[in-house]
């Protein structure tokens, strides 16, 4: 008895080692293809920089984001006449340092991206797995609901959901997650339907795996590639949509240093103080661009069709 179990253990460790090596080889291969794309590497570097700035915001920012310097209202950036290095990117209408607000704003944007993608991804995967695996009436029902959500322009639906839930950052994130979710459902379902009749799934089923194990442990890991790419795209969409909601007054509320909300507050100064309007937009654009660059790189690296060519 003890003998068999020790043989079993030895076998298991060998299998584990093998599988770890395979994972490692996969990652090496992935990095090879990803690093071929210079834009993607640049995007990744920018993204890492943004994340570090967001994490160490209190250390990096020259001032507190809500601190009002009443003797320096609408002070221009340092290179313009009248600007000073105390406020490198100038101050807004109530004398808050724009650079510090942008640095703290990075926390909000990245937080929005993470929360929205997590809700949309987890929800989308579960619903999509059920639809693709169970099929039949359940599948039809789920997909019709997704069609309904997709019949509305995403921003309009998000606006309406916020009108129901009440304006605010949390509600804006929930609304955007609901709007982005159908894409994950569709992708997961399509991938599951392609996998569900493959030999390895049938083998696992014959070996006695339960539905739950089949769905989440056998099939799901083989459907992840398109989902990862979609998650990256949704991350940037979430940041853009949240900024748009903030801009329309339905997202984060002032004085939160969220970039879209900052733009909304700055609108009346577009013709008198360009820096108040310009920098928050640059921050949004650079962040979204970095994430999209990474997304393009991921798609190239994970798509087997492109690899062959």
């Amino acid at each position: 008895m003890t003998k068999t179990s020790s043989v079993d253990t030895a076998k298991t460790t060998a299998v584990e080692k093998e599988s770890r090596n395979a994972t490692k080889a996969m990652l090496v291969e992935f990095w090879y293809y990803f690093s071929q794309n210079k834009g993607a590497v640049l995007g990744l570097a920018l993204f890492v920089l943004l994340v570090s700035v967001a994490i160490f915001a209190p250390l990096v920012a020259p001032h507190h984001p809500d601190m009002q310097f009443r003797d320096a209202l609408l002070s221009p950036p340092f290179w313009e006449a009248g600007g000073s290095l105390t406020y490198p990117l100038g101050t807004d209408a109530v004398g808050r340092d724009i650079l510090s607000r942008l640095i703290f704003g990075a926390r909000f944007s990245l937080f929005i991206g993470v929360v929205v993608v997590t809700i949309a991804l987890v929800g989308g995967i579960v619903i999509g797995l059920v639809a693709g695996y169970v099929g039949g009436a359940v599948d039809t029902f789920i997909m019709r609901i997704m069609d309904i959500i997709l019949s509305f322009p995403s921003l309009l639906l998000a606006l309406v959901l916020v009108a129901i839930l009440g304006p605010g950052l949390m509600n804006a994130m929930i609304a955007i997650a609901i709007v982005l979710q159908p894409h994950f459902v569709r992708l997961t379902r399509a991938a599951v339907m392609a996998e569900v009749n493959r030999d390895y799934v049938v083998a696992a089923r014959v070996a006695g795996a339960g539905h739950f194990r089949l769905m989440f442990k056998t099939i799901l890991p083989n459907c992840l590639a398109p989902l990862i790419v979609q998650a990256t795209l949704s991350f940037s969409n979430a940041i853009l949509d949240a900024a748009a909601l903030g801009f329309l007054g339905m997202g984060a509320q002032p004085p939160t240093p969220e970039w879209g909300t900052m733009l909304a507050e700055a609108r009346e100064f577009i013709l008198s103080a360009w820096w108040v309007v310009t920098f928050p937009g640059v921050a949004i654009l650079v962040t979204v661009l970095a994430i999209n660059l990474v997304g393009d790189g991921l798609r190239d690296a994970l798509d087997p069709k492109l690899k062959r060519s």
Binding site: P153, I164, T278, G281, N292
Partner: protein, 335 residues
């Protein structure tokens, strides 16, 4: 083809009822009941409220209210706007041409620039030109368009003073709105300078609204072209000595355009969502601004009607694109 059409319509009907259900639930999900919202902070006498609730059917069971709502929809009755006291449908139809005019200009701009840019990038694959075009497209794709609009206003309206900041036409001009399309109406009015004024109002909003579709179309055209350029029949066309222009422009482009057409169709939703932001920035009197204003002034019947009409339009356009796709590509039809 007929079976294909019926199949597609069959898919559309449950979705349509789902959309009506969403629009119906919207008002009932709002915190507080509709009459309290209507009365505002002044409040309302309970007796009068009960009377009004009965008059508007809010005291009926939910399924009955939904049924009544459906009947109203099919009679073209989408309720009355609190703010203007006009029927929602009438308001929508007055403002819709402004949005269509803007969206059409934007999509024409996006197609006319995006397809050639995509083709050019694909033909010159890997070159500096390709990288420049695709880099620009990615920047466009990542653009927060509400900020882009503000930047253009700062540059062209503020510093250069070339274009007006907002509206559809200068206040000096007045003429009847025959078609609702400012470009056509101003041209027909015969007033000197009216057409130029209309064009100068339209330029910046069109550019802003076109930005994302333009980037998407350029990217899609490039990847579709790359796929097609690797096919055997393109090699054959090259081998038999056709000019590169003919090979790319005729043989390759025709097949590459199929997925691009779908992409263009899918941009309708993007355009309508973009219109919400673009119209707000440029005070463009279309349905996007109307809806944002209605949401902020809590004119909820307008929002309800707008939701339904916009979803209806998107569904209709998707259906048309699907049918066109089926016409171009028989394989889809028979699947």
């Amino acid at each position: 083809m007929f079976r294909f059409l019926i199949g597609r319509l069959g898919l559309l009907i449950p979705t349509f009822f789902g959309v009506t259900l969403v629009a119906f639930s919207f008002i009932r999900l709002l915190p507080g009941d509709p009459l309290d919202l209507l009365a505002g902070e002044r409040g309302i006498d309970p007796e009068r409220k009960a009377q009004l609730m009965a008059q508007m059917g809010f005291d009926q069971p939910l399924w009955h209210q939904y049924f009544d709502y459906l009947i109203d929809i099919f009679h073209g009755d989408l309720g009355i706007s609190f703010a203007s006291k006009k029927p929602v449908l009438t308001e929508f139809l007055t403002l819709f041409p402004a949005t269509v005019e803007l969206a059409l200009c934007a999509i024409i701009l996006a197609v006319c620039l995006g397809i050639p840019a995509g083709i050019f990038a694909a033909v010159k694959r890997g070159s500096v030109t390709d990288q420049a075009i695709m880099g620009t497209a990615l920047v466009g794709y990542s653009m927060p368009i509400f900020w882009w609009g503000l930047l253009l206003i700062i540059l062209f309206s503020g510093i250069l003073q070339w274009t007006p900041v907002s509206g559809r036409i200068g206040i000096l001009y007045y003429f009847p709105q025959g078609t609702g399309f400012m470009l056509i109406d101003s041209l027909m009015s015969g007033q000197k300078g009216a057409f130029t004024s209309a064009v100068s109002h339209l330029v910046l909003p069109s550019i802003v609204l076109a930005t994302i579709p333009l980037a998407v179309i350029a990217r899609q055209t490039r990847s579709a072209m790359l796929e097609v350029l690797g096919e055997d029949y393109v090699r054959t066309a090259r081998a038999k000595g056709l000019s590169p222009f003919r090979v790319v422009g005729l043989h390759a482009l025709r097949n590459a355009l199929i997925p691009v057409v779908t992409t263009i169709g899918l941009q309708v939703g993007v355009l309508l969502a973009g219109a919400i932001l673009t119209e707000t920035i440029f005070s463009w009197p279309g349905i996007g601004k109307w809806l944002v204003d209605s949401i902020s002034r809590r004119d909820y019947f307008v929002v309800q009607g707008g939701l339904l009409l916009i979803a209806g339009i998107i569904m209709l356009v998707n259906l048309i694109v699907d049918l066109l796709y089926g016409l171009i590509n028989p394989r889809i039809r028979h699947n």
